[in-house]
Amino acid sequence: MTDVICPLCGKPNPPDLDECMYCQAPLKTGGFIAPPESESELSSSPSTSNKPGEAEQKAPEPSASSDLEQSIPDWLKQTEADFLDLSEVKPEEPSPAELSGQFDSLLSPPSTPPSSKENAIDDDWLASLLDEAGVGKPEPPSLQEQAPEEALKEPEPEPGSEMYEEGANLAVEGSTEEEQLSPTQPAEKPDWLKNLEASSTIKLEGDLFSGEPEPIEPAVNEIPEEKAQDQTPLPDWIAKTGSIEPPPSPQEPAESPIAPAELPNWLEALRPTETVSPSAPVEDLSGADIVTAGPLVGLRGVISAHPSAIRPQKPPTYSIKLRVTDEQQARVEMMKELLANEEKPTPLASRPIITSRNIFRLIVAVVLLLPMVWMIISGSQQASTPQPGNIPGVVDFTQQIQKLPSGAPVLMAFDYEAGFSGELNIAVTNVLIQLMNKSAYLTLVATTPTGPALAESLIKNASSSLVGTSGAYSNYADLGYVPGGTMGLLGLAKSPRSILPYSLESDNVWEGAPLNAIASIKDFSAVIVLTNDPDTARIWIEQAGPLLQEAGTPLLMVTSSQAEPLIRPYFEAKPAQVQGLIAGLAGGLAYGRTVGNLQQNGIWDAFSVGVTVSFLIILIGSIAGVVSKMLAASKKEN
């Protein structure tokens, strides 16, 4: 990837910089259509690929622009851009006269304010200009075509010649008006200066879109034509502009007095060039070299560029030609599309509540819901509940719990969201009941904020449904939430007491038995993770797993069916990284059987009918969709 040439100071910059490292000018234009580095990288994008000719069109651009940009003082760039801005935003306004007037106005002192502004604003408009990809970029090459045309040979002769023709078209009005209008410029200045400051907020697209489409028409028509064949007839609005006579302003004397005072000497030196014939840029160049000393250091070559700027008949011509680059063509095509879409009534504008989609969605919902509702209401028990033996992991889980000595400390991580309680609560409640029957000391932690509440309510439920015990189960400590995700978990694995020093009841549980014997997570008799998120499960396996394997502490998991396929590999792995696994509703019910809890009151039947119905919906829906598409296609053919 080649360096990015700063459009402002022309120095090369590494491609990944946003700002020029020398002058802090933004290097990247808005829009994806032509960010320099992305172009070189993304060979497949529609904006950059295709056209093989593009290569030689693009190649000379950056370097050429850089030389020139170097040689153009800011204020001049600014005014030209501003002129372009004007003529783009509202095509009716700028007459060639007005323009050339503007350039003249640059020669009169009051045009210094732009350059004398403090940097912040300066950056601001430059940036905004560069942002408006259509405006900022394209000029330099044109200037190049302009000034030392004979000196550096441009690869595109057509634009050049064409430009001269167009130049001819406007030359007459341009020159004549220029003479009479040049004095009135001061009056115009505030107007274009305002616009200049505003240029960062004026948005071409915005205007086009919010406003009526008329002004766009020319732009839209103009460019594609040029794309098609280079010979372009002038857009009518420009022809119009030629004839517009801007009214001479009344305040002219008010501002003119200051004019003669601060004329820089180099400008004096330039006066003659107005009379000099256009075909003598060489002399100007030589002149430029001398002028470099003085207030305008670093503006060497100003003069060489200058004649092109002040030559009255030129600006209108290149201003027309210039605004056609690939970017703009792409943008204009887009605009065309948008306009085309505008003409059609867009569905987005008037979104009806009842669309075929909504109806289809509604039918799907009803078809899915009704049978399940019926199963729940009837509390049907027809479908055979899953057997522990058929579901790998369940039996291992039970055995691991059975192995636990009575009163052993068990770490339970409630890492599932409340949304999955419908799926997981059956399994979790059964696990809790089994642990309570072994009067295990439950240490509850959570890496999700909803965990602690889930844990508390589930323990209350489980202990209430516990057979043969009265009152709530108190043999547990709820340590609450571990903030910090992976890092929190790592800290927890290494030293739980420093991460979670107190229980949610704010007592220091680590002082008393059995937790006082626990230094690290591996000292627990078992670690049970309840989660719906495979990533959380993986973090547990990765961060805590190694520690647990060292001590041979079993890591058991209760997961949602959505995480099962990703956790099962760890269970199947040799050596197993997860020693027991209960997954989803089926796992929960199967586990229920192992602890003698058989009640399922219609859930399993609803589940099985739900699965059957959704199978049919997907199958029929897909077939119907394909068929309807085929029919539509055949209709089109006919």
Binding site: S43, N358, L369, G480, T486, E542, Q562, Q577, V611
Partner: protein, 239 residues
């Protein structure tokens, strides 16, 4: 009085749950005001609970309580550890709160830089130690002759499955290859035929995986739907 409220609380909670469930399920028909209301209540409650919980677990238990205990019990031996492990974090935390004001925001950036650096390191280490090595190791172990079953018919199945997983893993990995040998200017960018075949196989495996996972997700959601129906019916039963 409080007992009465407590007794009332459960049925009231059930009714609230009932109404909220209906309001949310109404999104199936279309986006509507009831749904909006329900989710805004929900966002407030969920975020509020999380915020309070974190205040409890971090600000209270890790920052305040230790200090209070130290000075109440007079045991200041933990002071040094506290000064190293907690105090700087608290200072940084307060410093980071400057992010709340647009004017001061820039000054809080160093703290975020610190967080980002630590996070990036954790991410890298976790990915290498936690995912890359275990997964690659597991893939290698698929065809470990020492773990092969003894019986011949099982052996065949074991070998074929192992081979399939191996091929699947490798082709999936290769499918993601991004770079392509640079061709002459203007030529359409495409992979070599060999690569095309391999990545098509890989794509097949990816799609099957996604299909399996999609079903898992769907089943989880379906279970939730059943749970809601169950809940609505039970709540109706209460009254």
């Amino acid at each position: 009085m409080l007992e009465q409220i407590n007794q009332l609380a459960d049925p009231i909670g059930a009714i609230i749950g009932f109404l909220l469930t209906i309001m949310v399920l109404s999104y199936i028909i279309g986006d509507n005001a009831l749904f909006r209301l329900a989710i805004h209540i929900f966002i407030g409650v969920a975020s509020g609970y999380a915020a309070a919980l974190i205040l409890y677990n971090v600000v209270l238990f890790q920052v305040l309580v230790p200090v209070i205990q130290m000075f109440s019990t007079g045991k200041t031996d933990g002071l040094v550890t506290y000064a190293f492990r907690v105090l700087p974090a608290v200072i940084l935390g307060i410093w980071m709160l400057t992010k709340a004001s647009p004017r001061l925001a820039r000054w809080g950036t160093p703290v975020l830089a610190f967080l980002t650096g630590v996070g990036a390191a954790t991410v890298v280490a976790g990915a290498v130690r936690g995912t890359l090595f275990p997964q690659v190791g597991a893939s290698m172990n698929l065809l470990n002759i020492h773990t092969a079953p003894a019986e011949l018919n099982n052996l065949v199945g074991w070998f074929i499955n192992g081979l399939v997983i191996l091929v699947g893993t490798i082709t999936t990995l290769i499918y993601f290859q991004f770079g392509i040998k640079s061709q002459e200017e203007g030529a359409p960018v495409q992979r070599s035929v060999f690569m095309e075949y391999i990545s098509t196989v890989g794509q097949g495996f990816i799609v099957i995986t996604l299909g399996v996972l999609f079903t898992g997700v769907y089943i989880a959601a379906l279970t939730a739907l059943i749970d809601r129906i169950r809940f609505l019916w039970d709540t109706l039963h209460i009254f």
